[in-house]
C-alpha cells in the first residue's frame, strides 16, 4: 500500500509515522509538504501530530487552509483513507472532514502518558485486525484533546458506530476517572460516516515497535494495509 505523510511547519510526529509504515511495515511511503498540492489517487494519507503553525489562533485552524489540505479534502471526499493523529485529528475537525472540535483539556494541563482505550468497533478499515471491545494501551500527548460536539452530533456518532476509540479506566469502564481530558462520551477517536476518515488523539505510531515496548497501535496501520488487499 502507498502512504503519504503530510508535513506542516510544526509537525513533529511525521518521521515516526513515516518510519512505522515505511520501515516497520515495509510499505511505500513519501512525505508531502504543506505547500504541495499533489496526492496520488491510491495513497492513504496520514496527517501527523505536532503543533502545525504553532497552534496559533486555534489548533489546526491555519493548517486547514494550507494548499495541501484542498487535495486532502478532495481525496477524502472521493473515499481515500485518511488518518489524523493528535494535531492531525484537530486539523480534520477544523477542515470539516470530521464533526465536532477539540478544545483545551478539562484540567488545562498538557498530558503526556499512556492511557487505556477500548476499540469500540472492528467494523472499520482502521480497526479490522482488532477484536471488537479490545483494550489497548496507547500514549497521549496533548493540551487540546477534549472532544466537544453538540448533543445531535454525539447522538449520531453513537448511533452510527462512528466512535472508534474510547478512554476507559482500569476496570474497563468509560468513566470520568478513565477520561484524561474531559472528552464528551470519553471519545478518543472517531471516523466519518463513510468510514474512510479516522481522527484520534492517542498516538499509534509511538506504539508500533517491539523495541519501544508497546505494539498496541500497530493494528491501525495493519488494518488499513489489509483493507486494500
Amino acid at each position: 500500500m502507498k502512504f503519504v505523510v503530510i508535513q506542516f511547519p510544526g509537525s513533529n510526529c511525521d518521521q515516526d509515522c513515516y518510519r512505522v509504515v515505511g520501515q516497520v511495515l515495509r510499505q511505500d511511503v513519501r512525505y508531502a509538504w504543506h505547500k504541495d498540492t499533489h496526492i496520488e489517487p491510491d495513497e492513504a494519507i496520514i496527517i501527523p501530530g505536532g503543533f502545525s503553525y504553532g497552534d496559533y489562533l486555534r489548533t489546526g485552524s491555519i493548517a486547514r487552509f494550507s494548499p495541501i489540505m484542498e487535495s486532502v479534502i478532495e481525496a477524502a471526499k472521493s473515499g481515500q483513507p485518511v488518518i489524523g493523529i493528535c494535531n492531525g485529528f484537530q486539523i480534520l475537525c477544523e477542515a470539516g472532514l470530521l464533526p465536532g472540535a477539540l478544545v483545551r483539556n478539562r484540567d488545562l494541563h498538557f498530558i503526556c502518558e499512556n492511557r487505556l482505550l477500548r476499540v469500540e468497533t472492528d467494523q472499520t478499515r482502521f480497526t479490522m485486525t482488532y477484536d471488537q471491545g479490545a483494550e489497548v494501551r496507547l500514549p497521549i500527548a496533548h493540551g487540546d484533546g477534549c472532544y466537544t460536539a453538540d448533543s445531535k452530533i454525539l447522538a449520531d456518532l453513537e448511533e452510527n458506530s462512528q466512535i472508534v476509540f474510547r478512554y476507559i479506566d482500569h476496570y474497563g469502564k468509560a468513566s470520568q476517572k478513565g477520561n484524561p481530558n474531559g472528552s464528551m462520551n470519553n471519545i478518543a477517536g472517531i471516523c466519518n460516516l463513510e468510514g474512510n476518515v479516522l481522527g484520534m488523539m492517542p498516538h499509534p505510531e509511538r506504539a508500533s515497535e517491539k523495541l519501544l515496548g508497546n505494539i498496541d497501535g500497530r493494528g491501525i496501520f495493519e488494518s488499513l494495509i489489509r483493507s486494500v488487499c
Partner: protein, 84 residues
C-alpha cells in the same frame, strides 16, 4: 482606512476551563461576587479602503471560516472608519 475588531468567545454551551480557573483566582483575591468568567480572543484589523458594508461582508466570511470555529465559538464584528 477601516479599523475592525473581531471578538471571538466560546459558546455558552462549551466548557471554558480557562475562564473557570480565572474565576476561582478572582475569588481567591476576595471578589467573591464574580459568578462567571469567560475567556475569548480579540482580533484587531486595519483595512485599506472605505467601503464598510463590503468589508463587513468579507469579515463575516473570514470570521466564520478562519477566526472562529462555529462548532465551539461565536464572534462579533465591530468596524468603523478612521483617518489614515
Amino acid at each position: 482606512m477601516i479599523k475592525a475588531k473581531v471578538t471571538v468567545m466560546p459558546k455558552a454551551s462549551v466548557l471554558d476551563p480557562q475562564g473557570e480557573a480565572v474565576r476561582k483566582a478572582i475569588h481567591g483575591l476576595g471578589m467573591e461576587c464574580v459568578s462567571s468568567a469567560r475567556i475569548g480572543k480579540s482580533i484587531e484589523l486595519e483595512i485599506q479602503g472605505t467601503d464598510l458594508s463590503k468589508t463587513r461582508q468579507q469579515l463575516e466570511e473570514i470570521s466564520y471560516n478562519l477566526l472562529s470555529n462555529p462548532v465551539i465559538e461565536d464572534y462579533k464584528i465591530e468596524l468603523g472608519l478612521v483617518e489614515d
